[in-house]
């Protein structure tokens, strides 16, 4: 048997009936009917049923097939036949045909699987129920098996298709893909860098790129005109469930362009990418200034799949007698509201007052919430009696209120707080009342961001310091003025998720210096961090701008997966750990010594002394055992001893398989007993040992404080 005439399992069809084929792949599932054995043979293209029957297959081959188990890797030949009527399997594309095996080679056996791989039932009318409870870490530990599943293969194939569309389209548009370095200098993206120590330059570090920002701008200075790259970026950020320490982005930059060029290019590109998932994006995309987005949704990532946008209501209450509103407006505050259309049945007084006004909305940072239910053409609420008739009518008009609506308002001195709290409330209500339509994609460009943000120690760039401001005649020392500047930046937002963003860049050395000055960077700082870049701006830099798109997020959205880990071949888990390779891992002292890292602390506390404390606290937490100050020294010594023991066993580990028990573990099922409540529980005897009980339960502290 040779492989060169190999057919693909999933591509066989009725037109192949009668053909002799050779197939290679894995045993997806088996069904043993005594004399006759059926298997599902799976390769990347799909699944075909293969039959080993004494009628069509030699005894020797049938016997060999009897050895098959799930996920054995096999090579076989046989004849394609049409299945007998009534035995077709609609679960697989090739369900009308099957292959009568002639020859079989077991290329490699497989050990017992840590979890089932098969996703296709062998019998019509039944579906394989995949156990979603398989721990993700187990899947990640055996990722190479997890990736055998057709679902996961489809994810990676579609990801490939999407990236191919990107490359083809950008190539058509005259963009060229250029690689930029991975070992580079720390860039000012706001997150922590992953550092790589240099052996040749002891105590010096490279940083892994958070984005190729400066390189792509330098490529514009170089006259490459249109650049793109599908590039890995690294950010050492705080852990979030849907975040990876390394992620893939489509990075793009072009010269002699303006915002319109980017919008048009990306709308076409996004449409083509989403098409791979059978999704038609509505083009052109809506555009919204940052101010507008905040004023109408309270978010710079507006989710526009459902209405319920904000209405401003401050002017209604200019002469109000209602004390709270009066005070707020007197101090220049803000009142905004939303109309939850036709939901008064589901938002009772009790829910509005006791859940939302008292618990949920204060959790969003607002002091309170005003609610009004529209009934019989009027308003019902606990405070409505404080409003004048005119005010009540104006409210109804302002919110286009009809019977059955619920109007929710938030008032506060701070505009930002009103926007943020009402924005969170809007999403909460929409989710709770299932108001978000499924399978709808609503892209929007958010533009005109504030250039700077106020922080505790001054101001900081909203995007990065290379973004072009809306005007250039500002005074870098005037914080008040700086905060009014808008940037020529744009974010691409779909369904409330930011998929990418970019800006037109500064291409003027003096303006760039003014930006650094505004950010409070000294000349020395600028020279040290960006000297090389500022110098490049002295040599005729073209006007340019660009954008970056988070590929993992886009693919996950297109494929509708629950997390970006489903569309990455070898992701880290939620703790930024790789269960497959066990990275990150300790290194041997020799490596640290080579890198000159052993004595980096200098006169400071020795590396490890603080970590030791943190380690003990973290162990105390994970094992839920408090220790007091008297006990701590003994615990520290014990843990140090354990680390020393670990080093000894790691050094002497050898090649044997771990032996977890000296006896062969026998798996048994208890015979002859039915599931029933223990007599000890029935008679209440179990409670006799409990330190605290309440009613028929063990009494414990509340879960949250």
């Amino acid at each position: 048997m040779t492989y060169h005439n190999r057919s693909n399992c999933g591509q066989l069809s009725l037109s192949d009936v009668g053909r002799e084929v050779s197939l290679a792949g894995w045993v997806d599932a088996l069904r043993d009917h005594g004399e006759v054995l059926f298997i599902h043979l799976r390769d990347r293209s799909g699944i075909i049923q293969v039959v080993f029957s004494p009628e069509s297959t030699s005894r020797e081959i049938c016997d060999r097939a009897g050895l098959l188990k799930n996920e054995f890797c096999v090579f076989l030949t046989g004849r394609v036949v049409k299945r007998a009527k009534g035995t077709e399997n609609p679960n697989i594309i090739t369900g009308d045909i099957e292959v009568l095996a002639r020859d079989l080679a077991i290329l490699k056996k497989s050990s017992t699987l840590p979890f089932p791989i098969s996703e296709k039932s062998m019998v019509a009318g039944t579906a394989i129920k995949r156990d979603e409870s398989i721990a993700e870490d187990l899947r990640l530990q055996y990722r190479y098996l997890d990736l055998r599943r057709p679902t996961m293969q489809d994810h990676l194939i579609k990801r490939h298709r999407i990236l191919k569309v990107v490359r083809d389209f950008l190539d058509e548009q005259g963009f060229i893909e250029i690689e930029t370095p991975m070992l580079t200098k720390s860039t000012p993206e706001g997150a922590r860098d992953y550092l790589v120590p240099s052996r040749h330059h002891p105590k010096q570090f490279y940083a892994l790129p958070q984005s190729p920002q400066l390189f792509k701008q330098l490529l514009m200075v170089s006259g490459m005109e249109r650049y793109f790259q599908i590039v890995r970026c690294f950010r050492d950020e705080d852990l979030r469930p849907n975040r990876q320490p390394e992620f893939t982005q489509l990075d793009l930059e072009a010269s002699f362009i303006d915002e319109e060029f980017i919008y048009e290019l990306f709308e076409e590109l996004s449409a083509r990418m989403f098409e791979i998932g059978g999704i038609n994006l509505p083009c052109p995309f809506q555009r919204m200034s940052w101010q507008e987005a905040m004023n109408s949704t309270g978010s710079d990532r507006p989710d526009l799949r459902f209405g319920m946008t904000f209405r401003d209501a401050a002017d209604i209450f200019i002469d109000t007698k209602y004390g709270i509103f009066k005070q707020i407006l007197k101090r220049g505050g803000c009142i905004k509201g939303i109309n939850v259309k036709g939901q008064s049945d589901r938002l009772s007084k009790n829910i509005l007052q006791n859940e939302y006004a008292k618990e949920i909305v204060p959790g969003f940072g607002a002091k309170g919430m005003t609610w009004m239910r529209v009934l019989d053409g009027g308003l019902e609420s606990n405070i409505v009696q404080f409003f004048s008739e005119n005010e009540r009518n104006e409210i109804l008009k302002r919110f286009d209120a009809e019977n059955g609506d619920v109007i929710l308002m938030i008032a506060d001195q701070s505009w930002a707080l009103v926007c943020s709290a009402l924005g969170q409330l809007r999403l909460h209500i929409a989710e709770r009342l299932n108001m978000i339509p499924k399978d709808v994609f609503f892209p929007v460009w958010v533009t005109d961001f504030p250039l700077f943000e106020e922080t505790e120690d001054g101001i900081t760039s909203n995007h990065h310091p290379f973004t072009m401001p809306d005007r250039t005649d500002f005074d870098p020392g005037n914080t008040g003025e700086l905060l009014t500047l808008r940037s020529r930046a744009y974010d691409l937002v779909v369904n409330g998720e930011e998929l990418g963003g970019g800006s037109i860049r500064i291409n003027d050395r003096d303006l760039q210096n003014k930006m650094f000055q505004a950010l409070g960077l000294s000349e020395t700082d600028v020279e040290e961090k960006f000297g090389f870049f500022i110098r490049a701006l002295e040599y005729g830099p073209p006007p340019h701008g660009g954008i970056a798109l988070g590929i993992d997020r886009v693919v996950a959205m297109i494929l509708g997966t629950s997390s970006i880990r489903e569309v990455i071949a070898f992701p880290k888990n939620r703790s930024a750990f790789c269960p497959l390779t066990q990275a990150p891992s300790p290194v041997v002292l020799k490596q640290l010594a080579e890198l000159g890292l052993l004595d980096m602390g200098g006169t400071q506390a020795l590396p490890g002394s603080k970590e030791q404390q943190d380690l003990i606290d973290s162990l105390s937490w994970v094992s839920r055992i408090n220790i007091n100050a008297t006990e701590r020294p003994a615990v520290i010594v014990a843990v140090q001893d354990a680390a020393a023991l670990a080093e000894i066993v790691n050094r002497h580990s050898g090649e044997d398989e771990p032996l977890f028990s000296v006896v062969t573990i026998a798996n048994r099922t208890r015979t002859g007993t039915e599931a029933r409540t223990s007599l000890l529980a029935e008679k209440g005897e179990l409670f006799k040992n409990a330190p605290a009980i309440k009613g028929g339960y063990f009494k414990v502290a509340s879960i949250l404080e």
Partner: protein, 407 residues
Amino acid sequence: MAPDIFTYKNVLPQKSTEGGVLAGKKVVIQPNMSARGWLTNAGSLALEGFIALEDATVITRLRNAGAALIGSTRMSELGFGLSDDKRTRALCGGEADIALITDTMGEVRVAAATSGFFGFKPSYGIISRFGLIGLVPSMECYGIMAKSPEDIITTIGAIAGKDENDFSMPDEKLPDFSMPEESPKTTGVAGVIKECLSTLDDTELKAFEAGLEKIEEAGLTIQEVSLENFRLFQTVHNVIGSVEASSSAGKYDGVRYGHRAAPAKNWNEMYLSSRGESFGLLMKTYLFQGAYLQFENYPAFENACRIRRRLIRDTEKLFEHIDVLALPTRRLHHDPVRAATIGETYDAFLLTLPANVTGQPSLQIPSLCLNSGADLGLQIISPRLSDARLLATGMRISSIIHGAKET
């Protein structure tokens, strides 16, 4: 009876069953073995006030064999080590004939050596652990201490064997403990591990050599053997033991039983302080070691398990040429009762740990390795499941000593 040696004193032990193999024998147990209605606190606040609701399989079997269960004696926390140990006093005082002691690191053998008794740790996996409050499930087992080896054989015969309630028991053929009519001729080779000798000081070495001479008199040939990785037994036991302990002790939450700290603000606080107050310092340091190895350095646990496989293979290779291994049971200058740290505790059990790591049976024989009155104890170890032969050899040696004493 001094009350402070007992955790639970059974005022009215059942009458001996006529004809039971243990009829007339008084047995004392530990409070980590469940006997219905008895205070079973395993020497830990984590089980403060816990009254067993059922009999452990071993307890049922002792009762069926006609033994009189006179109570349980105070024990070290969760059976780890021998601090606060009152077990041997019951035997010394003549209140009991037989004591059951869990053997996690060698507790039954070291306790027996200290008081001049026989102490037996059987092969791992032949006694049901149902009803045992354990700490290190892959290495601990019931051990038996008695004045005579015959009592040990009778007891193990009564309590060993398959149990439907213990799913962890392997499917193996058990040793046959029916007592031979006459003890067999003791010929055979006893291996002495070269690497073990270097852990003894001069006086200990002398006492051990004296013991070896005596077993030569009993008909055994002494042969020096080498176990290059002898010192790794301690490391492997500490790594595996602490990880398993950290895992086993996870269930003590002070909810269904045990100690509950003063009312806490929330759930986590309740666990932190209840568990913080439940474990003594020695146990705490062990649990922290386990937590470190489990959460921060898990490969070390797996590697320790790899080494365990190698150590078992190494000892099994030795048994191709020898019949038993002979080791002292304890070292005089490493007192387990005074051990205050994990390191000191492990040092005190250095010579008994190997049998726990390998799951092999080990019999401690008294009065052979004497040094100006102090008894080092002598252990003989044989392959797994050869318990019956090992005990017969022990009886033979002991009868010769008896003979020698009489002349």
